[in-house]
Amino acid sequence: MNSLPISTDDSPPFVLELIYRLKIKDVMTTTLVTSRRSDSLRDIQAQMKKHSITGVPVTEGNRLLGMVSMDDIIRALDAGYIQRRAEEYMTRNLIVLEDDMPLSFGISYLEKYSFGRFPVLNKEKELVGILTSRDVIVALLIEINKEAEKLEREFSAQREESHPDGIRREFATRKFDFENAGKPSSEIKRLLKERHLDGKLIRRVAVAAYELEMNQVVHSVGGKLLFTLDRERIVITATDQGPGIPDIDQAMTEGYSTATEWVRSLGFGAGMGLPNAKRVSDSFSVESSTHGTVVTATIFIHGTESQRNTNDHI
């Protein structure tokens, strides 16, 4: 009846990330219609009608005592006790949510129990809101709309160019889009294979591209990967729109990571991304502010300048 078509463990990564990131308090209704224990069920029926709602919490101050639902009212009308006080007939055994819980809890509760609404309490056990399936649907729609808008902007910004003696190609990456992660790097690898470049070189470029790509997918709000190739070098420039790296030295330290548990369970987020990318690059730079991060990895096709100079001497 109140079933939501959202699985809390089997949905696309974007939806999973969303329902774990959003808290109950971001989604719940906070303008509450409440009644007192001494109110009659008739009063509550009038409240329901006036505000078009199907359940009213009974409170004393900020403390939740019980709930009166539309079913309780119908039962009272049937049995003729509609004039009696709320405290006599309200449901006292309540299943409540905490405002700090992730939205996924709210969705599971709506699935598991037959209630149409759940009172939400804060840490001090005060009633702070009500969560209905409508609240969940509205919040998800808003977030999914935002994402769709962003996608459209990014797709229109994608460009591709090719020159006779070089390649320039741009790829968009999206936050938590693990389904498409790896496609830009595969494409870069394919382009290099087509040019019959050395296998070791291709592997270095592929590792750098993939690590920078995964970094954007895992940590940034989204960004782009620019790949250029000319006779001398391959440059991968990873530019994102934020949130930025607070401490670059820390981020460059192997083992340091800010990735979530979920990302770690996939085998990423071990704090090796930037160090790995740097290791395979001939030159490597990171610039970051809260507006975004630019990582540039350069790999020389015929070895580094110093390697070439050494070769010249031989």
Binding site: F178, A206, L266, A270, M272
Partner: protein, 111 residues
């Protein structure tokens, strides 16, 4: 040993057979894909329980030729599709990473 011998000699079930059969000189065992990126050798076999399409992407970028998925972990369709596209052999076994690593190591080091 060659890739196909993972099935014929060690009994791991081949679940993705669109690959070029080639000699295996090295292997790497890890569930940490960033670690695999950093250390696995080209043309090696990866022993892991990470069964999802990003594991195939990592294998492809590092040039890993074959993967043995341990503990009979379920293999998602999109992972198998990616493995076919990348010609990476995938084998499945109910044994764990420790046992599989030992078995493969024994075969590679005694050849």
């Amino acid at each position: 040993m060659i890739i196909s011998e993972l099935e014929t000699r060690l009994g791991y079930r081949c679940v993705q057979s669109a690959y070029n059969d080639a000699p295996l000189a090295a292997g790497y065992t890890s569930d940490l894909l960033s670690d695999v990126m950093a250390h696995a050798e080209e043309g090696s076999v990866l022993v892991t329980i990470q069964a999802h399409r990003n594991a195939i992407a990592v294998a492809s970028m590092t040039g890993i030729a074959a993967m043995v998925v341990c503990n009979s972990r379920p293999l998602p369709d999109d992972m198998m599709e990616a493995a076919r596209d990348e010609h990476i052999a995938v084998f499945l076994t109910d044994k764990n990473q420790f046992t599989v690593s030992g078995e493969i190591y024994g075969k590679i080091s005694t050849q």
